[in-house]
Structure formats: structure tokens, C-alpha cells
């Protein structure tokens, strides 16, 4: 017996086909909805071409305060006419850690208000003029834009096509309802009072969930109202239902999101349901306010479409005023209630599929995840050296911390590698592959390639530590002072690299900071040469055996490998891709330069 969910689509198609067969008006209305929805998809596609660097800088600049986040949500949704695209971008940046949950909630609140501009456009303009006349030139220019090579022109093309189809969709729905009215009077089925309020709110919610667009439900409502197919009272209820229905889509989408995405979807749900419940409870006072404001704004008493748009704006504004003072508490509540489910193996924190939608967010998500991987590797390497992380990060002299070690920390490197390193590295590689399968600007593609190298470098460093730890466990606390001294030096050198990288992270990310890694490179080369010379001397003096010397030489090689890999990683992850970084890369010392410096020292 097939699952009920699998029967839904065929059942819907059959019902629609039956409707098309029996009613030309129904066909027109359904086609209008389809064309409208397609227009919204095209508009979203158009705006995606302009997301990235510009949007990212704008987001960073405008979301440090709650009122700015709300403003950002209002403006972007009004411009894009799509709260779902704004939600998508918000979740994308939230998942990548580029904005906090408070800012994300602010954007969603603002977006709810911004979406009401659509009702004004349709009620104020769309139904009063022959909107299809505007659609045709938009479609023509849009297709011309689509045929261009340039990404911005293609994006503009999609935008114009989107607008054109939006207008056409409204036109077909309007015509469909007008024709429908001549043969069938839906308003005869109007339900007055609170039963009607609840029933039509539920209808509005269900229709929005099916169409996945509150905008489309509103357009349907306004066109039906204009044709007299529904009463003003029932239209208000549909608008409230549409507002609540839009959160169901967000909740469904959040199932596959990371914890931040789920928190935002929960906030969206709480905000919209609270707004809806308050609107239902205060329906009569709100209607009174709408009537009074309509007089002030010069809206005719019988212009129910504009009054519906005014009602839509008003109850969303009410929701904004109610929730905004409690956003911080909401953030605290969500962080307590919506928790990360701990898994046996370390899970990626930032590699959310929604981050793939915007190239800048994808790059930032990968960069943060590689940083997360480095944190895990830092912990593993520190323990492998039998040093605590906070000691390496502190100002405490590393030499004394190393010398006073009395116990080699037990460490199952293989286990930790499987748990905290391999899984994350694999997830990073997979995410980068997915990102690179989409159309990316060259800079983003280059950065992802570099971050893949950085992730690999971290894994190589960990593997080096795995080898080093074997002999460290054996000889690290050797009774032979010469052996102990050499292994202390190996630990000190490796810990020194970790400390230098931590120091770099705390400094401003500019060219000079990046160039300071050359000090570490030089230190590693010097250490390598010094180690070989020292071992030769110790063998000659018979203070160590040749066997131990060989182990020390190999371990010196691992220290060198760990250091070089960590430096390569740091140059990519902790120094942002700016013109400064490019200059620093030109001035950074290569192997020949280091040889020259070492040669000059010996003269």
C-alpha cells in the first residue's frame, strides 16, 4: 500500500485536471497563481545574482543593532518582494556565523512588515490599471537581459521577467475571479463572526502552506475581494492565516538546518503566531483603527482592497511593537530550549546547505569550519605535547612549562582523529565540492580552493603529531637527560608554533601580521639544522645511541612537518583575502630567501 504522502501529488494533479476540464474560470485563476509563483521564483533568481560581497558588507554594517536589523529586513523585503528570499539569506548568513541570532530575528521581524508593501502595490496599483500592459515590455526586456553573458545583466533580466510574470499572474487571477463571479457567487458562502474568522484564517494558513507563499495568498485574496467573491471580513481572516502559514514553510525548511537555523525558524513561528493570535483577539479594535486611519489617509470607505493592505500592515506593525522589546529574552529562551544534539563524532557547525545559496556565505561557512577543525587539532596537538591549551595560549614561558612536565598525557590519537578531525575534514571537502558545482565568482572559487588546502594542512599536521606522540610517550620523560632535553626541545618548538599562531589570531589581520609567520618558518629551519648538528655531537660523545638519534631525527622531521602545515593553514585561514594578503604573499620569504637569511647569519 503506497504511503499517503506519495498519493498527494497525483491526487492534486487529478483534481486540478478535473477543475480545468469543468471550468475555464478556474483554469484562468489557477494559471494566474502558477504564473505569479513562477514570477516570484524568477525575481528571487534575479536578486541572487546581486547577493554576495555587496549584501555581505551591507549586512555587517546594518545588523549590529536591533533597530538596524529590523530596518534591513523591511527595506530588503520591500525591494525584493520576497520574504522567503530574505529568510533564506538570513539563515545562510546565520548558519555561517556572520550574524547573531538577535540580528536574524530582527531581520525576520522587519521582513514581515516589509512584505506588507506587496499588498499595497497590488491593491493600490495592480488592480486599478491594466497591469498586463506593463507586463509585456518587462518580459521582452527581461529575455534580452537573460541572453547576455554578464551576470548582473542576466540577474536584471531574471528580475524583469519575474516582475512581468508577477503582473501577468495578477491580471489572470483578476480576470478569472471576475468571470467566475458571473457564474458562481462564492460570497454566498461567507461565514460571519468568529466562526468565519477562524475558518478563513485556517483556509489562509492551508493555502499558504500549499503555495509556500504568503504573497500569493494575499494576491489571491485581494483579487477575490476586488471581484466581490469574498467579504471584507473573511479577507481579513485570510490575511491573518497567510501570515501564520508562512512560518510552517520556514519550520519545514529548518528540519535540515543547523541549530541556529532551527532557532531562527522557531523565532519566526513564535513571532507570526503571536501576531496572528493578537490580531484575531483584537480584530474589532483593529478594524476600527483601520477605518479611522483610512479616513486620515484619504482611502475611500468602500475601497476594501486598500483597507485590507492597511490592516495587513497594521497587525504586523503591532506584532513588531509587541515582540521587539523581548528579543533578547527570546534569544535566551531559544538558546536554552533549542540545543545542539550531541553526537558521538564531531559535527560541522557552520556547513549548513542554506549557506550554499550565497557564495560569500559559503566561503565564510567553510572558513569558520576550517577554524573549528583547527581548534580541534590545536587541542589534540597540545595534549600530544602534554601541555594544556590554556598554557600555550597564556603568556607563561613555554620553556618552564615543558621542563616541569612530570606526566605524559595519555592520548588515543587515532580515536580523537576519527572523532574530531576526519569527519569534519570530510564534511568540509564535501561542502566545498557542492559549492564549486554552483556558479561562483572567481574570487570565491579561489578562496574555497585555498581553504581546502588549509583543511588538508591541518590533517597533515595532526598525522605528524600522531607519529611524534609515539616516541614522545616513550622518551619524553626519559631518565637520560640528553634524550629528555632533545624531546623537550621538540615539544617546545611545536608549542612555540601553536603560540605564534594564537598571537597572530589576536592581531589585526593585515600584511605585517601575515609576514610575522616568516619568523616561525625561519625558527623551524634553524631548529632543524641545529637538531642535526646536536645529534651528531651527542652520538660522538656517546650520550645517546644511534637508534635513539634516528628516532629523534625522524621526530624532528615530524615537528618540521607539523610546523610547516600549521603555518600554511594560518596564512590562509587567519588572514582575510584582501589586497594586503596578496602583497604579503609576494613579500613572504620562500625557501631560497630563508636559505639566504641563514647563510647571512653564519657570516
Amino acid at each position: 500500500m503506497p504511503k499517503p504522502s506519495r498519493l498527494l501529488l497525483p491526487a492534486a494533479l487529478i483534481l486540478l485536471a478535473y477543475g480545468f476540464w469543468n471550468s475555464a474560470e478556474f483554469t484562468r485563476i489557477a494559471a494566474g497563481i502558477a504564473v505569479f509563483l513562477f514570477g516570484m521564483m524568477a525575481l528571487e533568481e534575479g536578486f541572487k545574482a546581486f547577493t554576495g560581497g555587496t549584501l555581505e558588507s551591507l549586512l555587517r554594517a546594518t545588523t549590529d543593532r536591533l533597530w538596524k536589523s529590523i530596518g534591513f529586513g523591511i527595506v530588503t523585503t520591500t525591494l525584493m518582494q520576497s520574504s522567503s528570499l530574505v529568510s533564506l539569506i538570513t539563515i545562510s548568513f546565520l548558519s555561517a556565523g556572520m550574524i547573531g541570532l538577535g540580528a536574524g530575528i530582527g531581520i525576520i521581524i522587519g521582513s514581515n512588515l516589509g512584505t506588507t508593501s506587496g499588498a499595497w502595490l497590488i491593491a493600490g496599483l495592480g488592480l486599478k490599471v491594466d497591469i498586463s500592459a506593463y507586463a509585456m515590455p518587462l518580459l521582452v526586456f527581461g529575455v534580452i537581459g537573460l541572453l547576455q553573458q554578464s551576470k548582473p545583466l542576466k540577474g536584471a533580466g531574471y528580475g524583469l521577467i519575474g516582475l512581468g510574470f508577477l503582473f501577468l499572474g495578477i491580471h489572470y487571477m483578476k480576470e478569472g475571479f471576475e468571470a467566475f463571479g458571473s457564474s458562481f457567487d462564492l460570497s454566498a458562502y461567507a461565514v460571519p463572526g468568529y466562526p468565519g474568522l477562524f475558518l478563513f484564517a485556517l483556509i489562509g494558513l492551508i493555502v499558504t502552506v500549499i503555495m509556500q507563499s504568503s504573497h500569493a495568498t494575499l494576491v489571491l485574496t485581494i483579487t477575490a475581494l476586488a471581484a466581490g467573491q469574498i467579504t471584507y471580513e473573511n479577507a481579513l481572516a485570510l490575511a491573518i492565516g497567510a501570515n501564520m502559514g508562512t512560518t510552517i514553510t520556514a519550520l519545514i525548511g529548518a528540519v535540515s538546518a543547523n541549530v541556529e537555523g532551527r532557532r531562527l525558524a522557531a523565532a519566526h513561528f513564535i513571532f507570526n503566531v503571536t501576531t496572528g493570535v493578537v490580531a484575531i483577539a483584537l480584530i474589532h479594535p483593529l478594524r476600527w483603527v483601520v477605518d479611522e486611519l483610512a479616513i486620515l489617509l484619504g482611502i475611500a470607505a468602500q475601497d476594501y482592497m486598500l483597507k485590507l493592505a492597511l490592516f495587513h500592515t497594521l497587525f504586523n506593525l503591532l506584532g513588531l511593537l509587541l515582540i521587539t522589546p523581548f528579543v533578547d529574552r527570546l534569544v535566551g529562551f531559544l538558546e536554552r530550549v533549542v540545543q545542539v544534539v550531541p553526537a558521538a563524532a564531531e559535527q560541522p557547525r557552520y556547513l549548513n546547505p542554506s549557506a550554499l545559496e550565497v557564495p560569500a556565505a559559503a566561503v565564510e561557512a567553510v572558513r569558520r569550519e576550517v577554524e573549528h577543525l583547527y581548534e580541534n587539532a590545536f587541542g589534540l596537538i597540545a595534549h600530544g605535547l602534554s601541555l594544556r591549551r590554556h598554557v600555550i595560549r597564556s603568556e607563561q614561558p613555554l620553556a618552564s612549562a615543558v621542563e616541569t612536565t612530570r606526566r605524559i598525557m595519555p592520548l588515543d590519537v587515532d580515536d580523537i582523529y576519527e572523532d574530531k578531525i576526519k569527519g569534519l575534514h570530510s564534511a568540509i571537502i564535501e561542502f566545498i565540492s557542492q559549492a564549486q558545482s554552483r556558479e561562483l565568482p572567481a574570487a570565491a572559487a579561489d578562496e574555497l580552493y585555498a581553504l581546502r588546502r588549509a583543511s588538508r594542512a591541518i590533517v597533515e599536521a595532526v598525522k605528524g603529531m600522531k607519529h611524534l606522540h609515539k616516541n614522545l610517550s616513550r622518551y619524553g620523560l626519559s631518565a637520560n637527560p640528553a634524550i629528555r632535553r632533545q624531546y623537550d626541545d621538540l615539544r617546545l618548538r611545536t608549542a612555540g608554533v601553536l603560540r605564534e599562531i594564537e598571537t597572530l589570531r589576536a592581531q589585526p589581520p593585515d600584511a605585517v601580521t601575515m609576514l610575522s609567520l616568516d619568523d616561525v618558518k625561519l625558527g623551524l629551519e634553524k631548529f632543524d639544522r641545529h637538531l642535526n648538528a646536536t645529534l651528531d655531537e651527542l652520538i660522538r660523545q656517546r650520550r645517546i645511541t644511534a637508534k635513539v638519534a634516528t628516532s629523534l631525527m625522524n621526530d624532528g622531521g615530524y615537528v618540521h612537518e607539523i610546523g610547516r602545515n600549521l603555518i600554511d593553514m594560518a596564512q590562509i585561514v587567519f588572514v582575510p583575502r584582501t589586497p594586503d594578503r596578496q602583497i604579503a604573499q609576494q613579500l613572504a620569504l620562500d625557501e631560497k630567501d630563508i636559505e639566504r637569511v641563514l647563510g647571512d647569519e653564519h657570516r
Binding site: D446, Y449, A450, D510, A511, V512, L515, D518, D519, L522, G523, K526, R577, P579, D580, R581, Q582, I583, A584, Q585, Q586, L587, A588, L589, D593, R596, V597, D600, E601
Partner: protein, 90 residues
Amino acid sequence: MKTRKLLERLADFLDADKAAQQAEIKSIRKVLKKLKEKERNLREKLNEETDPDQLGAIAAKLDVVHAQRRKGLERVRAIRKGAEPIRDGD
């Protein structure tokens, strides 16, 4: 004179390569200036430090900064000579 100056400016504007070279030289000189300041600070520290290990570490950093500045100056000379193409980065 006015016309000639205008034509020279127009030529510079149209000569994208030259503009890019000038921009690169300007960026390198900015970094070189910061490195010079870093070198000065390190020399001051070197004069004040007494611990032999620290002295060695500061001396090594000075060698590195000196080498980086030398490399930067060589790069500027090379760009001016036109011997090296403009590098785009990574």
C-alpha cells in the same frame, strides 16, 4: 600645455597596465613602511633586552624583516623596470 597635459592624463587613464602597476607599487610601499616601523621597534627592543635567548629571538626577527623589506624593494624595482608582469594574487 594644457592640451598636452590632458592628453597625457587621458593616455594614463587608458593605459590600464600602467595604472595597475602604480597601484601595486603603492600597496607594496605601504607594507614596506609598516615593516620599516616594525624594524625600528625591534631594534629598540634589542637595545633594551638582556636575556640572551630573547636577544637571539629578536635578532632573528630583525633578519626576517630585513629580508622582507629587501624583497619588497626588489619587487618595486622589477615593476618599474617592467620586467615582471602584474601578479593577481593566490
